[in-house]
């Protein structure tokens, strides 16, 4: 990637430092001069939003830890202490709790944006797989964080999810005992979850650096899914992407603030304001909304082991998407058939989320089975086949041509040749 300009420090001290550790040059090339495709739309602002959300969670989390007591007798009380007696503790906790939801909202938009515009395709396979790893780490972190307030849902969610590992043949029970640090979810479980909940965000931070590094090696994809060919196709990251990302971020923060300040418990479950009671199972054990589609898949399979395998497979399948998608064209803009299946997949995922919140009975189970089957068929059958049967629309010759056409209001070039260096 050729930059628009290089970093030449005028300040003598800065130049001295730069010759010894070129960190400012790295920042400059990554966040100032970095060439970004000029046709990016607002769906591309979610990468930046996710980085900010990670920092928000880290900062609020680090302060919350100063007041939290990770014991089965003290956890619930300490959360109420934070809510009542710590200065702006209610704000920190509501930001952190709703921040988790906003983090997942942003990551789901980010993932589906990648699916729509084919951002996983050659040469971005490693970038995509790092993203799947990040998603898994986020899920583990969020799950363990949800256990910490030690309410009824915390306790029973921990019990249900850790028990999934007992489905592993032969060693399952031993693994569950090892995870719990005892023979049921109890204080040792709370303490190790607390420790790991503090550790994992820093692991996420590390993998985010790799994710951004991989992104900066291969460059961003774009809504047209065609490669950058010249400087005319790009604009410098600063100010263009910086100001656009900032605008997207602040709009996202308006939604975030809506939750934090006005409906902070909207996404939570009231049972989690009841202290954990190992002797009383809540009538419904439901996970947080962002796990509901996976929970639906888990319960759709009539065998415990099968359900666990299906749930993990539903995430694992994402790793193979770069090779399951056989189409040469990246963006769904130019893939009339894939575009329709993309929307069907999105509706199916939302449907699974709805079913995950419903009791596993009657029609709900049948619907969950159908949607689960469709989810896998999409990735394992439809995606590979589409590449062979679909006739893509003609691709624009270049990003700049596509942008200029659109803004001139002229119709797209008829019969434009397909991007020749697509496989380069």
């Amino acid at each position: 990637m050729s930059g628009h300009e290089t970093f030449q420090p005028q300040n003598k001290a800065l130049a001295w430092f730069e010759r010894r550790l070129p960190v400012f040059g790295l920042l400059h090339s990554s966040f100032v001069a970095y060439p970004t495709p000029r046709n990016l739309n607002y769906w591309w602002t979610f990468g930046g939003i996710l980085s900010v959300m990670l920092v928000v969670q880290l900062v609020t989390g680090i302060v919350l830890v100063m007041h939290f007591v990770p014991t089965s007798a003290g956890a619930f009380d300490s959360v109420e202490h934070i809510m009542r007696n710590v200065n702006y503790g209610w704000l920190l906790r509501y930001i952190h709790a709703n921040g988790a939801s906003m983090f997942f909202l942003a990551v789901y938009i980010h993932i589906f944006r990648g699916l729509y515009y084919g951002s996983y395709k050659d040469p971005r396979e490693v970038l995509w797989i790092l993203g799947v790893i990040l998603f898994l780490l986020m899920m583990a972190t969020a799950f363990m964080g949800y256990v910490l307030p030690w309410g009824q849902m915390s306790f029973w969610a921990a019990t249900v999810i850790t028990n999934l590992f007992s489905a592993i043949p032969l060693v399952g029970d031993a693994i569950v005992t090892w995870l719990w640090g005892g023979y049921s979810v109890d204080e040792p479980t709370l303490k190790r979850f607390f420790s790991l909940h503090y550790l994992l965000p820093f692991v996420i931070f590390g993998v985010v650096l790799l994710h951004v590094w991989a992104l900066h090696v291969v460059g961003q994809n774009n809504p047209d899914g065609i490669d950058v060919k010249s400087n005319k196709d790009t604009v410098p990251f600063t100010p263009h992407a910086t100001v656009k990302d900032s605008f997207g971020l602040i709009c996202f923060f308006i939604l975030f603030a809506w939750f934090v300040f006005y409906i902070p418990n909207y996404l939570g479950h009231p049972d989690n304001y009841i202290p954990a009671n190992p002797l009383q199972t809540p009538p419904h054990i439901v996970p947080e909304w962002y796990f509901l589609p996976f929970y639906a898949i888990l319960r759709a399979i009539p065998s415990k082991l099968g359900g666990v395998v299906a749930m993990f497979a539903s995430i694992a399948v994402l790793v193979f998407v770069p090779w399951l998608d056989t189409s040469k064209v990246r963006s769904a803009r130019y893939r009339p058939l894939y575009r329709q299946f993309f929307w069907i997949l999105l509706i199916v995922c939302i449907g699974l989320g709805y079913l995950g919140a419903k009791p596993p009975e009657g029609g709900y189970v049948i619907a969950a089975r159908l949607l689960t089957a469709y989810y896998f068929i999409h990735f394992l059958v439809i995606l590979p086949l589409l590449g062979y049967i679909e006739t893509p629309k003609p691709l624009p010759a270049s990003i700049s041509e596509s942008v200029l056409k659109k803004h001139a209001g002229a119709p797209a070039a008829a019969g434009a040749v397909r991007s020749p260096e697509r496989n380069g």
Partner: protein, 274 residues
């Protein structure tokens, strides 16, 4: 054995959830609370009346352990003066100690004390109610809710409705009725429309004219229930007023900032599309 218990509990949740799911009470009606909506604030007089109902009726069985007497003075609450709150605290005997001789002793309450529990421990409390445990009421309005369905639930996002817990408490206190003819309940229980499973170990706690109001408010079960539900909404969320006030400031800031960024973005990008 414990493993078996956990396994059975799990089985109960996964397999028998529909059976348990049937154990829901009637859906409470929504009330017009002074504290709902983006600018909703607590009614000071109502919170003071609700505290009176709590102290004279609820407190004999229900704790309020997260609330200290100093909270009664804090802004956004019932608005008692420092002296009034001290006087309320002094009406309680608090167990303190150990003293220099190692003995526990009783003394009048201070602002820093919390509302004393109705019994020294959970077992003592349970034994009074045949094994049933009257829950602590500090966060009860956040720990209770009811299903409104998908459409209303989504609508609640836009109209910022969060008062389900107060609705439930108000409905429950007004929900006592005679059991259906074919149902027999023992004397320690009562029949309540809104309680999950309808059999509630709390016999009707309120009756008209039970608590004396000095501000001319009607001395009815309906009014008592309304006032104590509002009071418990405050105990569950004592910083609600500050939250909404700061929230409004944050919203104004974010919207103005977003507007400025939008026009900055337009200017920066003007040449990129030419």
């Amino acid at each position: 054995m414990r493993k078996l218990t956990v396994a059975l509990a799990l089985l109960a949740t996964v397999v028998a959830a529909p059976v348990l799911a049937a154990e829901v009470g009637a859906k409470p009606d929504r009330q017009a609370w002074s504290f709902s909506g983006p600018f909703g604030m607590f009614d000071r007089a109502q919170l003071q009346r609700g505290l009176k109902v709590y102290r004279e009726v609820c407190a004999s069985c229900h704790g309020l352990k997260y609330i200290a007497f100093r909270n009664l003075v804090q802004p956004g609450g019932p608005g008692f003066s420092d002296a009034e709150a001290r006087a309320i605290a002094a009406e309680y005997q608090i167990t303190d100690g150990p003293d220099d001789t190692g003995e526990m002793f009783e003394r009048p309450g201070r602002l820093s004390d919390h509302f004393p529990p109705p019994a020294p421990n959970e077992q003592a409390l349970r034994s009074r109610f045949g094994g049933a445990l009257p829950p602590d009421l500090s966060v009860i309005t956040k720990a209770r809710s009811y299903e409104s369905g998908l459409a209303i639930g989504l609508l609640d996002f836009f109209r910022q409705y969060q008062e389900h817990g107060a609705d439930y408490v108000y409905a429950l206190l007004n929900g006592y009725e005679d059991p259906p003819a074919d149902v027999e309940i023992d004397g320690a229980q009562a029949w309540n429309r809104y309680f999950p499973g309808n059999r509630i170990a709390m016999v009707p706690p309120l009756s008209d004219e039970q608590v004396e109001y000095t501000d001319g408010s009607p001395q009815t079960v309906d009014q008592y229930a309304r006032d104590v539900a509002a009071f418990l909404a405050w105990t569950a969320e004592p910083h609600m007023e500050a939250r909404k006030r700061i929230g409004f400031q944050v919203m104004i800031f974010l919207i103005v900032f977003a507007g400025l960024l939008y026009f900055t973005k337009k200017k920066v990008w003007a040449d990129a599309h030419a």
